[in-house]
């Protein structure tokens, strides 16, 4: 508990994050290269979809991350709202642009996959519509924060939006089971064995971990920026900036 107590203070979190960033960045780069090579070169074409299914290796990890990041953001927002922990608000604020990016990638790559397979770029079915709403939730969250100057009040107000928006997460996940949609049902994130060949599952999992590490890497950079901005009048920030010359 002492560990959490110490590193939940921005002053101690800042240098810890700084030490982790290069490692996380290196792991991300290696996993991305291995995952891309495996997914684009080694994995065989699909017997139904040919090579178009390879879009999956960016589409599915982005879609998973769009949900994961939202949960992190909403939990961070709730913690900062209830216990008023500064670092939790920094976490939520820094997650939003990353989550919005993953959602946008999932939507666009999905559209590019939908055109050759379904014959349409877009359809207003449950999965696609709820994912689009997720994108608007991220954008709304960021716009709300940007419109309030005082970071404390911005954190409190936006936290409510983030917490309410979490109802959309199970809707997205189960949409393919609850409604008849064009989108195919889950083949990995479900009870029982995944219904996907191992030769396609391995690069998918590598890419998923790569996206996860990408999120952590950029998240730490963004959190450090946010901390510097908020703590700019403190002595320890002055020491860091002075040390840089």
């Amino acid at each position: 508990m002492n560990f959490f107590h110490k590193y939940s203070s921005p002053k101690h979190f800042y240098p810890l994050a700084g030490r982790l960033i290069p490692w996380f960045g290196a792991i991300t780069a290696v996993l991305m290269m291995v995952g891309l090579y495996w997914g684009l070169v080694i994995a065989p074409p699909d017997y139904q979809q040919g090579d178009s299914y390879r879009i999956m290796f960016v589409h599915v990890p982005s879609a998973w991350m769009s949900l994961f990041v939202y949960v992190v953001m909403a939990v961070g927002a709730a913690i900062s709202f209830i216990w008023n922990i500064k670092l939790a608000d920094v976490l939520a604020a820094s997650s939003a642009p990353l989550g919005a990016s993953f959602t946008l990638i999932a939507l666009v790559t999905g559209s590019l996959w939908g055109k050759p397979m379904w014959g349409t770029w877009w359809v207003w079915d449950a999965r696609l519509t709820s994912e689009l709403i997720l994108f608007f939730l991220y954008v709304g969250y960021m716009a709300l924060r940007a419109s309030i100057d005082d970071p404390r009040r911005a954190g409190q107000s936006s936290a409510i939006l983030a917490m309410v928006g979490i109802v959309n997460i199970p809707i997205i996940h189960f949409s393919v089971d609850w409604w008849h949609t064009l989108h195919q049902p889950a083949s990995v994130m479900k009870l029982g064995a995944p219904t996907i060949y191992i030769t396609m599952l391995i690069p998918l999992i590598i890419m998923a971990i790569a996206f996860q590490m990408f999120y952590f890497t950029v998240l730490l950079v963004r959190m450090r920026n946010e901390i510097l901005e908020r703590e700019k009048h403190t002595g320890w920030v002055a020491d860091i900036v002075d040390g840089r010359g």
Partner: protein, 57 residues
């Protein structure tokens, strides 16, 4: 490795490479923007400190 076959993506080249290209652009921006932000913030704070020497509570 057969490069022209690799780039052709079994006839789905436009869709596959647009998808990967778009993802690459968005991810790259996600790296570049916060790094540039960091430079700006550090510059601003150091300028502020130079004007405000001796008052670093």
């Amino acid at each position: 490795m057969n490069w022209s076959r690799f780039f052709a993506m079994g006839g789905f080249a436009v869709y596959v490479w647009s998808a990967y290209g778009f993802a690459a652009v968005v991810l790259t921006l996600n790296v570049v923007i916060p790094l540039r932000q960091r430079k700006t913030i550090l510059k601003r704070i150091s300028r502020f400190l130079r004007f405000d020497q001796g008052d670093q509570s």
